[in-house]
Symmetry: C2
Amino acid sequence: MKILFLIPVCLSLILSSCAQKPEPCKSPPLLEGALSAFIPGHHLHVFEKFSYDAFGQNVRVLAAGKDGNQTFFVDNLLLFKEGVSYQIHYHNQTCIKTALKEPFRHIGVPHDAHFLNQLVLGSSSLPGQGLLVNNWNGTWEETQEHYLLTFTALGCVPLYTLDFTQKGELSAITSFFDLVEGIEDPNVFIPPSFCDSVKVLPAKGGVGARSFISLL
Amino acid sequence: MKILFLIPVCLSLILSSCAQKPEPCKSPPLLEGALSAFIPGHHLHVFEKFSYDAFGQNVRVLAAGKDGNQTFFVDNLLLFKEGVSYQIHYHNQTCIKTALKEPFRHIGVPHDAHFLNQLVLGSSSLPGQGLLVNNWNGTWEETQEHYLLTFTALGCVPLYTLDFTQKGELSAITSFFDLVEGIEDPNVFIPPSFCDSVKVLPAKGGVGARSFISLL
């Protein structure tokens, strides 16, 4: 009789603990904002402003950075459904159009990521002084390299990604900031008219991109 | 006549812009929480739980870490007003009591720090998805090493400190999390009775501590 009483109690305890454990998640489908990426091995520091549309599978990225002593600026438009990417040069009205074979990847926590822990960045004592986040780790399928991800617990908003080589050395740090949900100007996903007549170059070889960040 | 009208307009514009620019700040005087510090040059990773009382100038830190292949655990109590620090070993009821000559330093943004920028970690679209922070840089007076600090814009709560060598190489990364304002148990600042009869050793030499973190 006691066992019959205990079964539902145990079940409800198990279920409630399952419900509390965070699950891998997709970030909001429309996002605009900035990211800062640092690749220590190459002394490469990149700052990007991006627009991300998971419905249309479009990404626009303005990237500026410093590769050693050289600065660079790139304006890339990636249209995954059409399978083309554009490198746009407004200053001389030219365009490099390239076939894009990579599948579109949602920003988010991969479905096979391992939940590490939940913590409050900063303080939980007053609103506006802290942020509840989840940490995840795992291995990218394509490269077998390891990652550590930090996403907000509410809304699955990306905050940090750390990539490690197979030997465990830090290969890239990316932080996301000034994000907003939605696309302020949908025209960012339409290539400028001077790109219309440009021939498509064959796709670049690669190890397979984990996200749109690594496509740049 | 126009000039007379313009003067108060200009003044109010200047004042409002002054009011908007963040100023160096002190963190809440009573704080408890955790920090994670990584010192790349020494492959040293430290996790600390700390209690910080700026009124009484007391700090208690439990630090656990990995120095190369060796793990360690330290329980330190720093009483700055009394000028003593205790290294407490509960497992064998022993204590190392050392003179503490360093002045107490508040957690906060140094008064001569340079304001870099303000940004939202994550997203500002919905509450709980982002955190408004200020970034600061500067040079520690004692060591002439550079720092980069991230504190919340509201409440001056510490989030990250990055330290660089004089050559500009990253020497330490510290992140603060799970902080709360207040001290849950004020007894953490009272040394255990088996420390009473211990003799005080002379102060350790050093380059001058920037904060209680570097005292450990």
